[in-house]
Every structure is written in C-alpha cells, then in structure tokens.
Amino acid sequence: MPKAHVYGDNVDTDRIIPGKYTKTLDLSTLAAHVMEDIDPDFSKRFIAGDIIVAGDNFGCGSSREQAPLALKTVGVSLVIARFFARIFFRNAINIGLPVLEVPLHKIQPGDELSFDLALGKIINHTRQEIYQATQLPPVMLNIMQEGGLVPYLRKHKDFIL
C-alpha cells in the first residue's frame, strides 16, 4: 500500500527540482534529482506509487513544470497539501499528476494511505481515519480525469467550464 512521505510548509520548486537541472526534456534527469536537497535519502526510501504529503503552499516559487513532472516521473501517485501554490497546482493537474488539497489531516511519515480522486477522499489505514479534500472546480476535475491538459484538449479542442 502507498506510504506517506511527509514534508513541511513552503516547499518551493527549487527544493523539488533545482533550477540547474530543469533545462532538459529528458525526464530521467529530472527524476534523478527530485527532492534531493530537501531529502537526500528520498530516492532510497521512495517506492513508485507512494504519496507526498506537505503542509501549506507546496510548490511555491518558479513556474517550472519540471517540478510536478519530476514527481510524476518517479511515480508519485498523489500529492496532498493543506494548500498548493497556484502555478504548481495548475501545472500538476495539467500534466496529470494527481493533487488534493486537504486542510485538515494527521498524516505521519510512513502512514499507509489509499485515495479516491473523484470523491476527493483519502483513507489513512494506519490511523483508521478518513480525510475530505477541497472540491476542485469542474474544469480542473475534468482535466485531471482525462489525464492532463494534452489529452483533454485533443479530445475537446476547447475549454468547457
């Protein structure tokens, strides 16, 4: 079952993927350096499918889409934060990295979690708790359900509010 990797407030995009590695279209370079400054053991502990849990304002700073892309490439199945920085939030949904804003939760490192994106529900199996995420605007939920903005626009050709 996916495990939680827990971080604090204001994790900026330079901490997710330093600017010096972002100038590439090679996703494996991004994946090799994801979270390395903030958590040098990340790549050792992280198993594809695991979940990142953060506090306030996750992904603040630059507009680099390499940040959510790097997380998606290593296999992050969901990022939970109390709230996200706005550009990161849009970017994540646009590239098909699931994100949920959960204002109240007591998730601890290593907790085992499962989730339902459409319902915005997260089950903490370790603590036997259920958390409810903030509702997404329908256009964002649709983009997320289509797997990102590329498949969404290929299908719909235009935005549907």
């Binding site: 010096k20 972002t22 279209l25 390499q66 709230f83 646009n94 590239i95 903005l149 935005f159």
Partner: protein, 414 residues
C-alpha cells in the same frame, strides 16, 4: 443586470469575457499576449505538438525568449535553444535571442503588453506587467501550450488584496525594492495565494514605470496570481485607456503602509518574506554581490549602484556581478557612463539576461559563501549551490555592501 463595483482584475477579465465576472467565478478569456523562455518553452513546444498543434492561434502575439541560460552553458541547453529557434522560424512568432534581455524587461521595452490587456507568461514573474495596469499571470508550460493553440485560457477570477502606499517621498537610500520587501513581509510567502495584489495610494504619483515593475514583480513572492498598479501617475509613450478600480470594490484585505519613514529592508536566508531592517544585519560579511534580474536590473538600478561606487573600489576579496536587464538597459548604461563607473569600481558586467539569478550559469556561489543580491528569491540553492546563503536587498544596499565587504546601509555615513 446591475453591475456590482469591481476591482481592476475583475474589470479587465470582464471586458475580455464579454460579461461581468467577479471573484471566485470561472471564465474563459482571450489572451492578448503570451511568452515562454528557454526554461519553459521546450516543454511548451512539446505539449503544443502533442495537443495536435501546428499553427499558433495568433503568431504575432506569441514571444519566445532565450534569457535564462544565455548564452548556452553546455550542449544540452544549446540544443534546446536550437529547438526554440526552429520553432520560431516555423511558426512566425516573435523571437528574441541571447543578449536581448530578461523576458519581462523585453516585453515591456518592446511594448508587447499594454494597459488593460491580459498576458500569460510561462514564467512566475509575469505579474511584473501589472506595472502597466495589465492583468498578467505566470503559468506553466502546458497551460501556455493551450494558449498557443487556442489563444485562450480558463481562469478563476481572483479576489484582491488592496495595498495602499501612503506618503509622498521615500527616505534617501530607500527605493521601490524596500517598499515591496515590506509588502512581502506583511503578506508572507503565501499570503496572496490565488489573489490579485492591487496597489493604490499617494506614493503612486511619484513612482516611475521601473518602480512599478518592482512592486508587481515580487507579488510572485507573495504567492499572488497577479499584481496590478492603479494607473494614477502612470506615464507611457503612447495613448492608453487606464483601468481604475471602483471605489466600493470588494477586497479580502486592505493593507495600509506609510512609506515616509520606511528604512532599507533586507530579506535574509532562505525566504523572501523573512524581511528585516538592513541595520539589524549590518556588518554581516559578504563576498559576492549581484545586481540584475527582472526585479532590479534596470537603468535606475545600475545608476543607484554607480552613485555609491563612483570613484571607489569594491572591497578586496569581494566580487560584484552585474547583468543589465535588457539590451536597451545595457546601451543606456553604456551611453551615460554608468557602466564605466561600475567597471572601474571592480564590477564584472555579464550578458543581459537572467545571469546567476536561477543558478544555471554565469556566477554560481561557492560553499559557505554569503551573497547579497538585488534579485527576488533567496530559496536555498536558488543560485545553484544549496551550501550558500542569499540576502535580498535593493541595488543601493548591494553596492554599499560590496564596497565594504559587509552588509551596509546605503546612506552615506563617511
């Protein structure tokens, strides 16, 4: 339908949507201009092609700029630059090669964004154009690809925070950078998330376009979606229709800041909202000063540094790197002698562009180094080395500090 009073953001978005929209509502709006840099364009071009894109919705309103790692520091980046050059040729969009300057300065220098317009830039400091009374947002590459393809974007109309800047004059040695650092301190790094920061107050009548750009630039460090300066006192070399907020518009928060006695401010490592008086940190040794960026790389910034360094030499063991914000700034600073003064004082002048701001090239600090920078971000590792520390201040404070090799107030005491 009775129109409710509106903020500037609500007015600009309503005009583009074709019907009145208010904070919290979703809308799809046409975009007047869009831009991507060498950090964000390659992914945007890739996403555009994956969306089935062949032709840009409006080639004349799309701009590609090489500024973040310019000239290319290695073959990987050189090839990404080549990809951008070919795409520009294929699609007929505007293209600005190395040396043109920082995307935001170039857009303003070339009048690519004007009052009342909506601009989407694939760079987080795009709200800088709010200085021009425009609605400008930073977006990621895939959102930008959708703009390239459709000419439109979907947005949630932001609520607004009103910042009233009171006072008619700043103290000597105090600049718009010190004012905005104070605003960042008060609003914090996430205090304006999803919102528009709208600037008002008497001080606006005394602020230049460059000052206004500083105010809007650092709304990115408040988490804001956009920042917009009310058009009082805005002077431009062309005619425009200013967009004012309605008197009774709704704000989520009103901040009143008396700027009359504001002292020089400094953000200490590792967050732009950890702001203090420069005097509190005076004496902290520094070995590296940087003046440039979309925040403080304009002519008046270089002039402020030159005024302090004229006829003097920076302290031994200290280096000063200067990156003019654009080719126009470089030419102006060359013509009026500012560059000569700075070079004689010991500064290294580098290509106009982002320079060492984002840690890709052109002046990465060493382990344990303390940098004083006129940029906007001091996150750990921002300049390419997580074992260095970055203080953020005005160009005048940076200049005074490299002169003495320690953090120094920019007012003459000797």
């Amino acid at each position: 339908m009775i129109m409710q009073p509106q903020t500037i953001a609500e007015k600009i978005l309503s005009k583009h949507a074709g019907y009145p929209v208010y904070a919290g509502e979703l809308c799809v709006v046409p975009v007047d201009g869009a831009m991507a840099t060498d950090t964000t364009a390659p992914l945007a071009i890739q996403a555009f092609k994956e969306m089935g894109g062949e032709r840009l919705a409006v080639p004349d309103r799309f701009h590609l700029i090489i500024d973040h790692a310019a000239p290319a520091p290695n073959e990987r980046i050189a090839n990404l630059h080549q990809m951008m050059r070919s795409f520009a040729t294929e699609t007929g969009c505007h293209f600005y090669d190395i040396g043109s300057g920082i995307c935001h300065q170039v857009m303003v220098d070339h009048h690519r964004v004007r009052p009342g317009e909506i601009f989407m830039g694939a760079d987080s400091h795009t709200p800088t154009y709010g200085a021009l009374n425009a609605f400008a947002c930073g977006v990621g590459s895939t959102d930008l690809a959708a703009v390239m393809l459709t000419g439109k974007i979907w947005l949630k109309v932001p609520s607004s925070i009103r910042v009233n800047l009171h006072g008619h004059r700043l103290q000597p040695g105090v600049s718009a950078k010190d004012v905005v650092l104070e605003v960042v301190k008060q609003l914090t790094i996430s205090g304006a998330n999803y919102q528009s920061v709208e600037y008002h107050g008497e001080l606006l009548h005394h602020l230049t376009l460059s000052d206004r750009m500083v105010l809007c630039n650092m709304v990115a460090e408040m988490g804001a979606k956009t920042g917009i300066v009310s058009p009082e006192g805005l002077q431009l070399p062309y005619n425009f229709e200013p967009v004012f907020a309605d008197k009774a518009a709704t704000y989520t928060r009103v901040l009143d800041i008396d700027t009359t006695d504001l002292q020089p401010r400094i953000a200490i490592p590792h967050s732009p909202d950890d702001v203090h008086d420069v005097s509190t940190y005076a004496g902290t040794p520094v070995t590296y000063g940087f003046i440039g960026t979309c925040t403080n790389g304009r002519l008046n910034d270089l002039q402020a540094a030159a005024a302090i360094l004229k006829g003097k030499k920076i302290a031994s063991g200290v280096r000063l790197v200067i990156a003019p914000a654009s080719r126009q700034v470089l030419i102006d600073a060359l013509q009026d002698g500012t560059l000569q003064t700075l070079i004689e004082a010991g500064a290294s002048i580098i290509n106009s562009g982002c320079g060492p701001c984002v840690g890709t090239h052109d002046g990465v600090p060493g382990d344990g180094e303390i940098v004083i920078s006129a940029a906007n971000r001091n996150f750990r590792g921002r300049m390419g080395n997580p074992r260095s520390e970055i203080y953020l201040a005005s160009p005048a404070t940076v200049a005074a500090s490299v002169l003495h090799g320690r953090i120094t107030l920019p007012v003459q005491t000797d």
